[in-house]
C-alpha cells in the first residue's frame, strides 16, 4: 500500500469524522442536560436529509444552503416534542425515555416510508462527483465541503455554549439543575431550548450525510448505533469528547478500508471503545460524579 493512499484515507477520515461529530453533538448535548438518550436522533437526521433532498428536487435549493431552512424547522419540532412528550418524562427512569424516543424513531421511519417510499435516495448536485487532486491525493469536493461546514457549525455551537447567556444557562443546568434554579435559571425553558438546539444539530447534519451517503427510511438504525458509540466513547455529555471520538471512528473506518479490510472497521472501533471503557468507564472526556442526593 502506498503512502499516498494512507494519507488520502487519513484526510477522508478526518473530514468524515467531522460530519460524524456534528451529527453526534446534539445527542451528547441532549443527554448532558436532560439525561435523555434520544434514540430518535438518527431518525431526525434522516428526516432532515429527506427534507433537504425534497427541497433540492422541487426548488433546486442547494443542500448546503438548505441547512438554513431545515435547522429552524427542526428547532421548532424539537421544542414541540420537548413540550408535548419529553417534559413529562423529566426525572423518570432512563429506560423510559429510551422507549419513548425509540417509539418516536419508529414513527419517523414510517412517516418517511409513506412520504418518500422505501427506495434509497441520495442528494446529487452538479458538483457531487467533482474532486480535486493535491500531491496525488484525491479529495471529493462534497467530502471537503461537508467536513468544512460541519466544523464551522460545531464551532458555532461551541461559541453559543461558551459565550452566550443561553450557553451559560445550559452548562449550569448540565452541572447542577438545583443550583441553577437557585441562581435564576428557568430550567424548563433552558432544557427545552437545549433539546431544540440538539435536534437542530441533527438537522444540520442531515443534508451533509444525504450528500455523502445513500439513505432510506431504516438507515437511521445504522446511524444511531454509530452515534451512540461515539458519545459513549467520548464521554456522555462531553462535546469535546464527542468530537474526538467521532474523528477516531472516521479514521478507523477510512484507514481500515485501505489497509486490512473494510470488514475490520467496526471491529477496530468497538475494540477501541471497549478498551477505553475498561480503563475509563466514563469515556475519554467524561467525569464521574455522585448524583445529587
Amino acid at each position: 500500500m502506498s503512502g499516498e493512499l494512507l494519507v488520502q484515507s487519513v484526510v477522508l477520515g478526518l473530514l468524515t469524522g467531522g460530519v460524524y461529530a456534528l451529527t453526534a453533538s446534539g445527542l451528547t448535548l441532549i443527554f448532558g442536560i436532560m439525561r435523555v438518550v434520544n434514540v430518535a436522533h438518527a431518525a431526525m437526521i434522516v428526516m432532515s436529509a429527506y427534507l433537504s433532498w425534497w427541497l433540492f428536487q422541487t426548488l433546486g435549493l442547494d443542500p448546503i444552503l438548505s441547512i438554513a431552512v431545515v435547522v429552524p424547522v427542526f428547532f421548532a419540532l424539537g421544542a414541540l416534542v420537548h413540550r408535548v412528550i419529553l417534559r413529562r418524562l423529566s426525572g423518570r427512569d432512563l429506560t423510559l425515555t429510551v422507549l419513548v424516543t425509540f417509539g418516536f424513531a419508529i414513527i419517523l421511519e414510517g412517516l418517511q416510508g409513506t412520504l418518500f417510499s422505501s427506495n434509497f435516495q441520495a442528494i446529487k448536485t452538479s458538483y457531487s462527483l467533482n474532486s480535486f487532486e493535491l500531491f496525488g491525493i484525491y479529495v471529493p469536493l462534497v467530502r471537503l465541503l461537508s467536513g468544512a461546514v460541519a466544523l464551522g457549525l460545531l464551532g458555532g455551537l461551541y461559541l453559543v455554549l461558551g459565550r452566550t447567556d443561553l450557553g451559560r444557562a445550559i452548562r449550569a443546568t448540565t452541572q447542577d439543575p438545583r443550583t441553577a434554579t437557585l441562581v435564576g435559571v428557568n430550567i424548563e425553558r433552558v432544557t427545552m431550548l437545549a433539546f431544540a438546539l440538539g435536534v437542530s444539530m441533527a438537522a444540520a447534519g442531515g443534508p451533509l450525510l444525504g450528500m455523502l451517503f445513500a439513505f432510506y427510511p431504516s438507515t437511521h438504525w445504522l446511524w444511531i448505533g454509530k452515534l451512540l458509540a461515539i458519545v459513549v466513547l467520548g464521554g456522555l455529555g462531553s462535546l469535546r469528547g464527542t468530537f474526538v471520538a467521532a474523528i477516531v471512528l472516521g479514521l478507523a473506518e477510512q484507514v481500515m478500508n485501505v489497509t486490512i479490510s473494510p470488514d475490520w472497521a467496526p471491529l477496530v472501533f468497538y475494540g477501541f471503545l471497549f478498551g477505553v471503557l475498561i480503563v475509563r468507564p466514563q469515556g475519554l472526556f467524561g467525569t464521574l460524579a455522585r448524583e445529587s442526593l
Binding site: L12, T16, L94, S128, L129, T174, L239, V258, E291
Partner: protein
C-alpha cells in the same frame, strides 16, 4: 465549555452506559444479516425433459374449481424485503408477483379459485424473514409460498419451508448455500445459479485478443452469499486466463462510504472491476470511482444495474458501459413477455422501465401456475415432485431444475449504451441487440 470537567455522569448513568454500548453494537450490526456462504457444490446434470410450459396466464386453463373450498382464495405467502437495504430489488420482485396475480385472477383464477398474496415486510433482515415464514405457514396457513430477495434471506427462509414440506419457489436466491443443504422443496427461478452469473462476462473478457485483454482485475464485494459465489467463480476463471487479481476486499452490507475503497481500487491500477454488489453499493462504487476519475476498461456489477429505473435515476449517464448478468430484458422475445411488459406498465405507469427483479417475480408466478395446474393439487409435495420432472416456459426462457432445485441454463451478458440496457452476449441469443463496448466510455 461543555468539556471534561463539566460532564456529570452519575453512578446510575454509569451502569446505563454498559447497556448503551451493547445497544449501540446491536444496532450497528442489525443490518448485517448476511449468512455465511457454504462452499459451492458441484452442478448436477439436469435430465432433458419435454417442456410442458405454463403458457401465458391469460391463455391458461382456468377450469372450474376442483380443489375446495371453492369460495375461498388460494393464499400465497411471502416475506419480502420491502424496506431496508434490499428494498429496491425486493419491491421489484413484489411488483412482479402483483402483476402475475392480477393476470391470473383476471383470467379466472388458479384451478378456478382466486389468488391472494399474504405479504410481510422483513425489512431486509434474515431473522425477521424466518419468523414471518413460520407465521405464514403455522398461523396464516397459506397454501403456497414464494421467496424473498435475495440469497441472504432465501437461505434461512427456505429451511423453514423445507421443515414444513412447502414448495419454496423463489426468484432471487441462487447462491451455493441455497442448494448445499440438498433440500427437496426449493426451486430457483432464474436461468442459472449465482456461481455462473458472471460466466458470459468472463468468457467475453477471455475471448478478447491478447493485445486488448486486460491484465489485472479488482473485486470489491459485499459480504453476501450470492455475491461471493458469483465473484469467486469469475475470479477463478480470470486468474486461470492470466488476469491477475490486484484488489479483493469484502465490505459489510452496511457499507455506505466508498471513497477510500475507490481510492484503493484506483491505486491498485486494475484494468477491470468486478463489483460484487446488491444495489446501493453499486451506485456508491460508481459515484466514488467517478469522483476520483478512476477509468477502468470494463466494469461488471453482480446486481444493481438490472434494477434499471432506480439505477439510471441514481447515476444518469454514468451507467453507460456498465455490464451485468441477468436472465431477462424488457425487450425479450420470450414467450409471454410482451403481455407481462404491457400489464406491468398498465399497473405501474410511473415506472418508465421494468426492473429485472420484477421479471423474476413474475416468472415465479408462472412456475407456480404450471406446477399447480400440472399437479392438479395444492399438495406441496406433489407440486415439488412435478417441478423436479418438468420444465416451465417463463419470461426468462424455459427453466428446469435438478434434484436440488438448481436451474441449468445460462445468463445473458447485458451492457448499458445510451441509457439502455442491451443484451450483448451470447452472440446466438435472439435478444442480442448490440456488441459489447470495450473499453467502456469514461464516466
Amino acid at each position: 465549555m461543555v468539556g471534561s470537567n463539566q460532564s456529570i455522569v452519575g453512578y446510575r448513568v454509569r451502569h446505563f452506559v454498559v447497556g448503551l454500548v451493547a445497544g449501540a453494537i446491536a444496532l450497528a450490526g442489525c443490518a448485517s444479516s448476511a449468512t455465511p456462504s457454504p462452499s459451492p457444490t458441484a452442478s448436477a446434470t439436469v435430465s432433458a425433459v419435454p417442456s410442458v410450459g405454463s403458457s401465458p396466464p391469460s391463455a391458461s386453463p382456468s377450469a372450474a374449481c376442483v380443489i375446495p373450498p371453492c369460495d375461498k382464495p388460494i393464499v400465497i405467502g411471502v416475506s419480502q424485503a420491502l424496506t431496508g437495504d434490499k428494498s429496491d430489488p425486493g419491491t421489484g420482485i413484489e411488483h412482479g408477483y402483483q402483476v402475475w396475480i392480477k393476470e391470473i385472477n383476471d383470467a379466472g383464477g388458479l384451478l378456478g379459485r382466486k389468488v391472494e398474496l399474504k405479504e410481510y415486510d422483513n425489512q431486509s433482515l434474515a431473522d425477521t424473514a424466518v419468523s414471518q415464514i413460520e407465521r405464514l405457514v403455522t398461523v396464516d396457513k397459506v397454501d403456497l409460498l414464494v421467496g424473498p430477495f435475495s440469497s441472504a434471506l432465501t437461505i434461512p427462509t427456505s429451511a423453514v419451508a423445507e421443515k414444513y414440506k412447502m414448495a419454496f419457489v423463489e426468484g432471487a436466491g441462487g447462491a451455493p448455500g441455497v442448494f448445499s443443504r440438498q433440500f427437496h422443496y426449493v426451486f430457483f427461478v432464474q436461468p442459472a445459479v449465482a456461481a455462473k452469473q458472471a460466466d458470459p462476462f468472463v468468457n467475453y473478457i477471455v475471448s478478447l485478443p491478447a493485445a486488448q485483454r486486460p491484465t489485472s482485475a479488482a473485486y470489491p464485494q459485499q459480504d453476501d452469499p450470492f455475491v461471493s459465489a458469483t465473484e469467486d467463480g469469475a475470479q477463478a476463471t480470470l486468474e486461470a486466463a492470466g488476469i491477475k487479481t490486484v484488489y479483493k476486499q469484502v465490505y459489510p452490507p452496511t457499507q455506505t462510504d466508498f471513497a477510500s475503497i475507490a481510492a484503493a481500487v484506483k491505486a491498485s491500477k486494475a484494468d477491470i472491476v468486478l463489483g460484487g454488489t446488491i444495489f446501493d453499493d453499486a451506485v456508491g462504487q460508481v459515484q466514488a470511482y467517478a469522483s476520483i476519475n478512476y477509468q477502468p476498461k470494463a466494469v461488471y456489477f453482480t446486481s444493481g444495474p438490472s434494477t434499471v429505473g432506480a439505477f439510471k435515476q441514481a447515476l444518469g449517464d454514468k451507467v453507460n458501459g456498465i455490464f451485468t448478468g441477468d436472465g431477462w430484458i424488457e425487450a425479450s422475445k420470450a414467450t409471454g413477455n410482451a403481455k407481462f411488459v404491457a400489464d406491468y406498465h398498465a399497473m405501474f405507469p410511473k415506472e418508465a422501465q421494468i426492473p429485472g427483479e420484477a421479471a423474476e417475480g413474475y416468472s415465479v408466478g408462472q412456475v407456480l401456475l404450471a406446477a399447480v395446474t400440472g399437479a392438479q393439487s395444492l399438495d406441496n409435495t406433489k407440486i415439488a415432485d412435478w417441478l423436479h420432472s418438468n420444465k416451465v416456459d417463463t419470461v426468462q426462457g424455459p427453466i428446469g431444475w435438478d434434484a436440488l432445485g438448481r436451474p441449468n441454463g445460462s445468463f445473458l451478458l447485458e451492457q448499458y449504451a445510451s441509457g439502455t440496457l442491451n443484451v450483448v452476449a451470447p452472440s446466438d441469443d435472439p435478444n442480442k441487440a448490440a456488441d459489447p463496448a470495450y473499453p467502456k466510455p469514461s464516466w
